[in-house]
Symmetry: C2
Subunit: 243 residues, 2 copies
DNA sequence: CAGTGGTCTAGACCACGGG
DNA sequence: CCGTGGTCTAGACCACTGG
């Protein structure tokens, strides 16, 4: 029934999630793990891994001795914060039609704050990519991406800059993207930001992700700032007690 | 070597974390999983579970075919966002000495926004607990907790209110705390907030967690708002590509 | 007490990295 | 090529829930 790639666990997860969305389970209760395992022809461990991921996403609740239940409340969670997902997907999950607009992509000097995070000298020029994401044609996310030009090994077009950085890197830089170290920062909207994000006025609060991207050798290779209009896009998550 | 509770996985995790902190592994490289399993007298799966948790915490990096490595960068991450930890611990991890100050605990009417989240009628009076957390005697977190008084089944003192809600609930309400549904919100500091958090002026940006707590029957039982001074306390996390 | 999820084991095979 | 981490299996036992 399932192929070998992507991982069985991942396929089982998607499969179950789809059945939950389709409301195929009566009374908000899911079948026992053993039954799912038999049915899907995988081991119970694989089912449990898949259920575990659905649980951290807030889709289900599990209670020892009682069973596994579908969590309506968790539907409000649109993204797993510790997982990088394309902003288009986030916007779509939130119920809007996403579009991307490339505002600019040019090589320039940057604030020292940026070069510091990338372990570069302050006068180094970087490629700055500005992108605006729209939800139903309303601006919701503005991203600034800083890439050292000398890591780019293949020719690229302006259009390639529309790719998420973590896809651009492996395609054009002959190295792998490993992870972001991200900081969540609240910001007062400057007039520059307010204009681009179509805010009613400057001085409002914005949610910002300030992220440094590392490659598989654990060297910083990219810096990114994402500004969210939290009135249109809510960042929610499920938090549990430590085990 | 290990007991049965807390879980083997959790004990192995703590054990390895301590050895990492003590810099017991040369060259930033950890022994192979098989070797750790033999050494600690547990199965490789258990070791892998423990390493998996350390990886999401940012403590280590694993590369298929290459090995497991200690991640200096990850030291900047002080907390796992999807895990509830006491604010004192967060402050301590960030390098300060934590203290808690109970500002007030009284029954009052609350904004409709609060009663809505708890599925109560707007005129219901709730117990409001205000707490201030200090790092090296500087205010860093202000929390407001709203508890419906009728769920409290045991007598309690003012001092009991200093407990985190998720500990107060099981102790005084004869029910279990299951999880928070949290929303991350950027806020403009009001003068009321600025005064209590000792901010230089009102109008600065604050990071806020707006959370609804659910019990094991998946009913909302508590509402909490936490305001962070992000200049002193940074919220950082590791983000990876989806599998 | 029967049935559920929670934990742990031993073993197998695969995919990838580096010499 | 060998050794590493990544995935999956089958089976065992425990802890808890609910009738």
């Amino acid at each position: 029934m399932f192929k070998r790639s992507p991982s069985l666990t991942e396929q089982v997860k998607s499969h179950l999630k789809q059945r939950i969305i389709n409301a195929e389970f009566d009374g908000g209760r899911m079948p026992p793990e053993m039954e799912l395992a038999r049915e899907l022809k995988v081991s119970r461990n694989t089912v449990r891994d898949a259920l575990g991921r659905l649980e951290t996403e807030g889709v289900i609740l599990r209670r020892q001795g009682a069973g596994t239940f579908i969590n309506q409340v968790g539907q409000l969670v649109k993204n797993r914060l510790e997982e990088i997902i394309p902003y288009e997907a986030l916007i779509r999950e939130s119920g809007y039609v996403p579009t991307v607009r490339l505002l600019s992509a040019q090589q320039k000097q940057v604030p020292a704050e940026v070069t510091t995070h990338l372990h570069l000298s302050p006068d180094e020029e970087l490629l700055i990519v500005q992108k605006l994401f729209l939800a139903d044609d309303k601006p919701v996310i503005l991203t600034l991406t800083y890439i050292p030009p000398d890591i780019i090994k293949q020719p690229y077009t302006q259009d390639d800059c529309r790719l998420p950085v973590y896809e651009f890197i492996p395609q054009f830089c002959r190295q792998e993207f490993a992870y972001y170290l991200s900081e969540i920062v609240p910001l007062i909207a400057t007039s520059w930001l307010a204009e681009r994000l179509d805010l009613p006025e400057e001085g409002g609060a914005l949610l910002t992700f300030e992220e440094t991207g590392y490659n598989q050798d654990n060297q910083p290779i990219v810096r990114a700032c994402s500004h969210f209009r939290h009135d249109l896009l809510r960042l929610r998550l499920i938090r549990r007690l430590a085990r």
